[in-house]
């Protein structure tokens, strides 16, 4: 059986660590307690011992690479000794155990967060009879969270993992069995709920999104202004240069122009590039212009940042957007890619929607929402014409930016987008 050992949460509240040095290679025999890898987090550099005897079937990440907490570090073939040194099966039975309270110095006991946790062979005796427990159940963190969310007493759940550790699947099975228990007066309701609800634990990214959104709504005074800007000229310029840079594999998008327009406008409207520190009673005006781009990924919302956007050309911004988008899609964004933003742009128009009330990326002062571009009738030189209309929604923290300054900022952004030659002149 193959055992996946994941990079455990050290308890520092950090989300990642860096691989300093591998001490094992694929195919190498390891004993429990032998050092697998040296990892570094913010304050600790530590060797992580093997939680099991076995043979390294796979290892993940190279030296210098950043690994997320919860990501697989190694796979250990547990039965290698019993079957001699035979090659590792192609499709082994995989047991994935997530650790809690273990710390990066590694241990498998997950019954609690005791200060001292001793690694032991307890988890290996899988064939022992599953006796009734009278003590706190061993369980993975995911299983604990799921049991808590579902109101299940985890100590009553039969664990099928090593040392009767309760796994995620055990909770799901327990819930199913529980819902199938014949209670005449409630059975129909239970079946109905089972059909209508799907409960899953919150991912780390979802928790972070939730925390940030609530923090923004609680701390900032949101105000949103809506506008429309005619961008036929911008469209013409974009199309021209889109073809021009095609050979260099650079996609010149509307967003690249918008980022540049926002960065230049922020230089002239400093309150939109500021943050307020209420504790110290000061306003902090930032003299750097780092534009965050809210990106929709499979795992949730992320906001990579284009640093010093005011100093980049539209072409360079387009290239940077491309790079960050690729990283976001592949789940390879680093903390460095996402920090130090001073203003955010969220572009939902490509998916759908004209206007929105974007939530400020707190503690920033503003966020600009980009809606769906559409052809619309416009009046030009007292004649009816067809215009290309871009809807804009600007949310600001009204504690920092007053209404007048907010409108002036938005007017300037619109001016750049309406007459893009201004992006070259300013």
């Amino acid at each position: 059986m193959r055992y996946i050992f994941k990079f455990p949460d050290i308890g520092e509240g950090l989300e990642e660590g860096v691989i300093v040095q591998w001490h094992v290679d694929k195919g190498q025999k390891v004993k429990m307690g032998e050092s697998l890898v040296t990892m570094e987090t913010d304050k600790v550099v530590t060797e992580i011992p093997s939680p099991r005897d076995g043979v390294i079937a796979a290892r993940y990440g190279s030296e210098g690479e950043t690994i997320k907490v919860g990501a697989a570090l190694v796979e250990i073939e547990l039965n290698a000794d019993e079957v001699g040194d035979s090659p590792i099966e192609d499709k082994p039975k995989v047991e994935s155990v997530e650790e809690d309270g273990a710390g990066v110095v590694g241990t498998l006991e997950v019954a609690g967060n005791d200060f001292v946790l001793t690694a032991s062979k307890e988890g290996v005796s899988e064939q022992k009879e599953n006796k009734t427990r009278h003590t706190k159940a061993l369980a993975t963190p995911v299983a604990r969270a799921m049991a808590k969310d579902m109101g299940i007493d985890i100590n009553l759940v039969r664990g099928t993992g090593p040392a009767q550790r309760v796994m995620k699947e055990d909770i799901q099975n327990h819930a199913k069995q529980d819902s199938k228990t014949p209670i005449p007066q409630l059975s129909s309701t239970k079946n109905l709920l089972e059909d209508r609800l799907e409960i899953e634990p919150l991912s780390q990214i979802r928790k972070t999104i939730a925390k940030n959104m609530i923090q923004s709504k609680h701390n900032a005074a949101h105000m949103t202004v809506f506008e429309e800007v005619e961008i036929s000229e911008l469209d013409r310029v974009r199309k021209k240069y889109k073809d021009y840079f095609k050979d260099e594999n650079i996609r010149i998008t509307y967003l690249a122009f918008i980022v540049k327009a926002v960065a230049l406008a922020l230089k002239k409207h400093k309150s939109l590039n500021a943050e307020m520190d209420m504790d110290k009673g000061v306003m902090i005006y930032k003299k750097y212009y780092n534009i965050g781009i809210a990106a929709d990924t499979e795992k949730g919302l992320v906001v990579p940042v284009i640093k010093n956007a005011d100093k980049l050309s539209v072409k360079e911004i387009a290239l940077e957007i491309q790079t960050l988008a690729d990283k976001a899609r592949d789940g390879k964004l680093s903390m460095d890619d996402m920090k130090d933003g001073t203003f955010t742009i969220t572009s939902y128009g490509s998916i759908g929607g004209l206007f929105a009330v974007p939530v400020i990326n707190y503690p920033q002062a503003g966020i600009l929402g980009i809606g769906r571009i559409s052809k619309q009738p416009i009046v030009k030189d007292d004649k009816l014409d067809i215009g290309l209309i871009l809807p804009l929604s600007l949310s600001v923290d009204h504690r920092i930016a007053d209404g007048g300054e907010t409108s002036r900022f938005l007017n300037r952004v619109m001016s750049y987008l309406n007459e893009p030659v201004g992006l070259l002149i300013d």
Binding site: E40, V44, V45, T118
Partner: protein, 211 residues
């Protein structure tokens, strides 16, 4: 000519205990000079003001443990301990335990408003007075911390850049606003008094290992 100072491996006296044959050992003392100590992953250009450091001839070291760069000076106390053990420690909990013991023993000297902040800092109110980090190797934990007794924070401002990572409670404050010393906070304690308090803390922590 390069403006970068030469970077040496960490070799201050406290590190010798890591090499000692004892399972448990500790060191408390004051540095004999001003040193800049980079964390294991710190980049010299990103961490320190190279020009000032080189001009003043400050010795720059790189320690094997994590964390950001620090300055050591004779107006500070460095304290370290090693513990070899088959028992596996949770580093975050170990930091908490150490800080709780330090708070307990430093409070006995009359220091008030002591808090454990960030991952491993000690503060008076919101001002940091002690930082620490650790590493483990061959089932041995090596912990080291530095307590600012009376060093002027301008020294830090002069030589260290703003760190690439910071604890939440720093809130982007400059070194000048973030760091303090016992003296600056109104506590004029002798090194002997502080050494005893730290020594008691370390010995109590050892009890936790034995238990």
């Amino acid at each position: 000519m390069s403006t970068q100072p030469v970077l040496y491996a960490y070799n201050l006296p406290d590190y010798t205990i890591f090499e000692s044959l004892k399972d448990f050992d500790y060191y408390i003392g004051e540095p004999d000079n001003i040193y800049i100590v980079l964390g294991r992953s710190n980049n010299i250009e990103g961490a320190i003001n190279c020009e000032n450091v080189k001009k003043d001839g400050i010795i720059t070291l790189k320690r094997p443990s994590g964390g950001e760069s620090v300055i050591l000076s004779p107006n500070m106390l460095i304290f370290s301990f090693k513990q070899k053990s088959d028992k596996i420690q949770n580093p975050a909990n170990l930091f908490k335990l150490i800080n709780s013991k330090l708070i307990e023993n430093l409070s006995k000297l009359g220091i008030e408003n002591l808090y454990s902040k960030g991952i491993s800092d000690l503060s008076i109110g919101e001002k940091k007075i002690m930082g620490s980090s650790m590493f483990t190797k061959n089932k041995t934990i090596f912990y080291h911390g530095v307590l600012n007794i009376s060093e002027d924070v301008e020294l830090i401002e002069k030589y260290l850049k703003h760190p690439s990572k910071e604890p939440d409670y720093r809130k982007k404050r400059s070194h000048r606003e973030f760091v303090s010393s016992l003296q600056r906070e109104g506590y004029n304690l002798t090194k002997a008094e502080l050494t005893t308090a730290i020594e008691n803390s370390i010995l109590e922590i050892r009890e936790a290992f034995i238990d």
